[in-house]
Symmetry: C2
Amino acid sequence: MNDSRPIFPELQNDRLLRAARGEFVDRVPVWMMRQAGRYLPEYRKAREGHSFFETCRNPELVSEITIQPVRRFPIDAAIIFSDILVVPLAMGMQVDMIAGKGPVLPEPLSTPADLDRLVMPDVKDELGYVFRAIEKTRRDLNGRVPLIGFSGAPWTLMCYMVEGAGSKSFSKPRAWLYAEPQATDRLLEQLTDVIIEYLKGQIRAGAQYIQVFESWGGILGPEAFDRFEAPHLKRIATELKYAYPEIPLAVFPRGAHHALESLADSDYDVLSLDWTILPEEARTKAGLYVTLQGNLDPAVLYGPRDVIRENVRRMVQAFGTRRYIANLGHGMMSDHDPDKAQVFVEAVREFTSELQLSSSH
Amino acid sequence: MNDSRPIFPELQNDRLLRAARGEFVDRVPVWMMRQAGRYLPEYRKAREGHSFFETCRNPELVSEITIQPVRRFPIDAAIIFSDILVVPLAMGMQVDMIAGKGPVLPEPLSTPADLDRLVMPDVKDELGYVFRAIEKTRRDLNGRVPLIGFSGAPWTLMCYMVEGAGSKSFSKPRAWLYAEPQATDRLLEQLTDVIIEYLKGQIRAGAQYIQVFESWGGILGPEAFDRFEAPHLKRIATELKYAYPEIPLAVFPRGAHHALESLADSDYDVLSLDWTILPEEARTKAGLYVTLQGNLDPAVLYGPRDVIRENVRRMVQAFGTRRYIANLGHGMMSDHDPDKAQVFVEAVREFTSELQLSSSH
């Protein structure tokens, strides 16, 4: 594998990277999970006539969609447009994106014997389209803001691969934990191997910050999380940090508040928080030596301007301005009004600048 | 309203009530959320030819289904067979139970103006069928174990009434919090009024223990929970405790771990825990003067006998034997094997008896 990395335009805005490393920033960086998406009319236009995964495979479209929110909002990062299910796809599973329903995997892993159907992909072949899209997008960004790469975490990918679709309870993968612990270990380890290679490839292609999405961490009990998933989640960070020490690593353990203490004591630089934990409690659990990212309830953006501003003000006051990256506590929703995202971003800039000023006096 | 209460056979097993009040018990009581349900072949047989709500309206069927798990397992309580959505039904909303999909409310509350469609029911008329079923079941139980009554909590009922169905995100009711706070207050208050009357009616009919299910508490952020829901949830307990001080009150704030401290300091006697919190952490948050109920991951029952026993052993050792009621951390699932429920119940009895013995030495 050719490990030479492309040369890109110089980065003009490094607030995100500095905040992740705990360095001084002139104001708190802000971005939004799922900031590139269906709530933007320009996204819907760009997607016209292209299926979801066709879009993911087209570097021009990915670059356009990834950069759309950067044009519209004064945000401090772009996040590559893709989906966590490209990994199961690369491992030989069929994944269909059904409009209005979400992902469906028509042939899920029903028994441990089904693990033999999975292939260990050469990520450069099977996921090269993501790497090409990252390289193209990074060039097109022209150093304006850093580009975030991402992957689903092993357990979260296993949830879809075993359940076969999104679910409120994910009872099938949860059953594997107790009925098929060896197969669970094997699957999670195999996923971890692929995820590490996949994220290394993203970094080589130009990703400047990595986020691992543990979207279904919250349905694991604390003991199951520690026993089955935490070692893999931590190994991802350790191996990436060893290979690329300069790249900040974030993890979003949605709902798994019990894991914050242990994840703070790992090679992740940033803990991305969902909206169901108070900033003060997260800081107490995480300690002082990790950056926190989050965590406004996206539903606040359904409210009027003054409600959004008041909620943002309380949030940034609680988090403070050091080791903090402002974000939502989950993704933008498809029926959100883009103008409300603007109110959110501007309120973060306004209130964190005020805080910076008052703390420097 | 005639407030004279029926006279029932003397209670033979009061472990549940004693544990809820913090009194000494010879062994830890145990029951299971959704212990009467589809995973039992005798339930499926009893339901044959009867729609869901038709079953709820038939006191003979309700009594039979409620008592089925008491016949099968050495459990310490029965819980009346019904559904939380009987309350929206009584308030004039249509609720359809769709097999394999769950509840659908085809005309949800889309705007605040829709609140005018809701009626303030005379619970004795509209929910009298539940009271008659409770009275019949209590008689048929013949004092064997106490009978638990229940209701959904206001926010959890609002979730279904505004969303119109179950959901992973419940974005519509969450939008109301910020876009329609006055209408949210009005709806939650109206629901609270109905719930209080409904639960009082259940107690008068013979319910000996009340559980309030806040199944969707975990999608509210801590501030939203405290601002919108906590006052109503606490008022339910306060008014019931004032009217019927002898009836233990439990609340199941699923996922809302941030609320445990505040709910421990209310008129609820019992906090029912989901499986995503460690017993030690729950006890630290809740303090010593409230009974904890829970919290085995129901998915453990998909595992083999020794895995179930090992998980139960760890759970009861962590909770201890005082102020503790053993249960699952969520309901039985329809594809569970009844024999595994038996293993769970017997393991609780065995291990908590051992603990009792060792602590009395």
